[in-house]
């Protein structure tokens, strides 16, 4: 059985939170790289330019992760509301089956609850689709990070005494990008699992 949407969305939110923390580490790496480039002077002019890219990339990942995290959290809350309505509908269906004397008097409220549940499920479908789109979008940052890591390695090769330290930084960028990608992959698979099951409210 698929996990309920409110748990999936909360888990996606947690993955994106981790991705954001990794991106903060990346921003720190950029600061170290800049300090090193300043000390290394003219030999690392190329590297210094790259540090600007890393900083920009880190802040882009942080802000996007924050947006997705927030979106996923909101979806989780909506999914809880849908789950409550779904639960209420199940109870109402049971009451209907008992055919109590004044059943008709409750019908408008049951219909209202059903309508609300359908609207919530529709909203959830759209929200989940948007979430998948936003995560797909985030993968382009990973590709950029890998490109930067490769360029950093190239620049490190000409940095003389600073070569080793710059290579550590280049490796760091690649490893961080890998870890962020892993969080995105996990978020993605949580969502696609749900998509396959096509089961929204419960």
């Amino acid at each position: 059985m698929a996990a309920p949407v409110f748990i999936i969305a909360a888990s996606v939110s947690a993955e994106l939170h981790q991705a954001m923390i990794e991106a903060r580490g990346l921003a720190l790496t950029a600061k170290n790289a800049r300090a090193l480039a300043v000390r290394a002077g003219s030999k690392t002019v190329g590297f210094r330019a790259i540090t600007d890219f890393i900083e920009e990339l880190a802040s882009a990942i942080i802000s996007q992760s924050r947006v997705i995290n927030h979106h996923a959290e909101k979806l989780s809350t909506q999914a809880v509301t849908a789950w409550h309505s779904d639960n209420a509908m199940a109870q109402f269906r049971w009451v209907e089956a008992q055919k109590p004397e004044y059943l008709a008097s409750i019908s408008p409220h049951i219909n209202q609850c059903d309508k609300q549940l359908n609207a919530l499920n529709h909203e959830l479908q759209i929200g989940l689709r948007d979430l998948i789109g936003q995560i797909d979008e985030s993968y382009k940052h990973i590709r950029t990070a890998n490109l930067i890591a490769t360029s950093s390695h190239v620049e490190a090769a000409t940095a003389g005494d600073f070569r080793e330290q710059l290579e550590v930084i280049a490796d760091n960028i690649r490893k961080t990008a890998d870890r962020i990608a892993a969080h995105l992959n996990r978020a993605n698979s949580l969502l696609s699992q749900n998509h396959r099951e096509r089961k929204i409210a419960c």
Partner: protein, 245 residues
């Protein structure tokens, strides 16, 4: 859900719902009460979330949804009102009368449509159809904000957790001997009720009422002479016993 009519005079009627055969094990059995008068009805301590569907079904056998204009929750416990989120969908136009003290807590059970009518500490009187109902303070018995319901015309006091007993399934509806019933109530009252002062204050006030039926939220109901027997029994029972030394 077993429905028992406790009182009937024209359109003024008390019905008790209890002993749901489908109740899951490990959940305390509760008595729910429906009072009708004219074209209005109030549901007293509607019960836990697991009881909602059988309760709604039972109630709809007696009164149409729009007739249930009021709900009452004596205090904040889950066995009293954790079904609120569902009643909120079923009776969106109803008012919930409950202690002011618990408003921000009870709302956690889910309340988007129903209106919260906060009962002040000193209690209040409301009109239901053609009768008057009085919410009598019963603070600290056991909840720190707590009310009982007094219907002077019917002579019925809904006494919440006071007089409650944890009974085996299939127990009779009425107390037949305080000697036999006392031991079934003893632990519950000693451990749940925290204050002798609150207990004495309550006994003093309800002793002035002409109670024909005392109807607690769990277990059997009391009729004279067992009402007075209960008050005497409760009066001499030390409570708040979890405080040692």
């Amino acid at each position: 859900m077993l429905a028992t009519v406790l009182y009937e005079d024209g359109d003024h009627r008390w019905t008790m719902f209890a002993r749901d055969p489908g109740k899951p094990d490990g959940i305390i059995d509760t008595n729910q009460y429906l009072i009708q008068s004219g074209d209005e009805a109030i549901l007293l301590d509607p019960g836990g979330i697991e009881l909602f569907a059988p309760m709604l079904t039972s109630v709809l056998k007696y009164v149409p949804a729009e007739g249930i204009t009021k709900l009452f929750a004596s205090h904040q416990d889950p066995d009293i009102i954790s079904s609120l989120g569902l009643w909120d969908q079923a009776l969106p136009n109803a008012d919930l009368y409950s202690p002011w003290l618990w408003e921000s807590f009870i709302r956690h059970f889910g309340m988007n449509n129903i209106t919260y009518k906060a009962i002040p500490d000193e209690g209040m009187t409301i009109t239901l159809g053609r009768i008057q109902l009085q919410f009598i303070p019963a603070h600290y018995l056991h909840s720190s904000g707590n009310f009982h319901v007094w219907d002077a015309k019917a002579g019925i006091l809904m006494s919440g957790d006071v007089g409650a007993a944890l009974e085996e399934p299939g127990a009779p509806l009425w107390v037949d001997s305080m000697e036999r019933h006392g031991p079934k109530m003893k632990k519950f009252h000693q451990r749940w009720m925290p204050s002798d002062a609150a207990k004495h204050d309550w006994i003093r006030r309800v002793s002035a009422l002409d109670i024909k039926i005392m109807a607690p939220q769990h277990g059997r109901l009391f009729k004279p002479p067992h009402v007075a027997d209960f008050l005497r029994w409760f009066d001499q029972l030390p409570v708040g016993v979890a405080i040692k030394g």
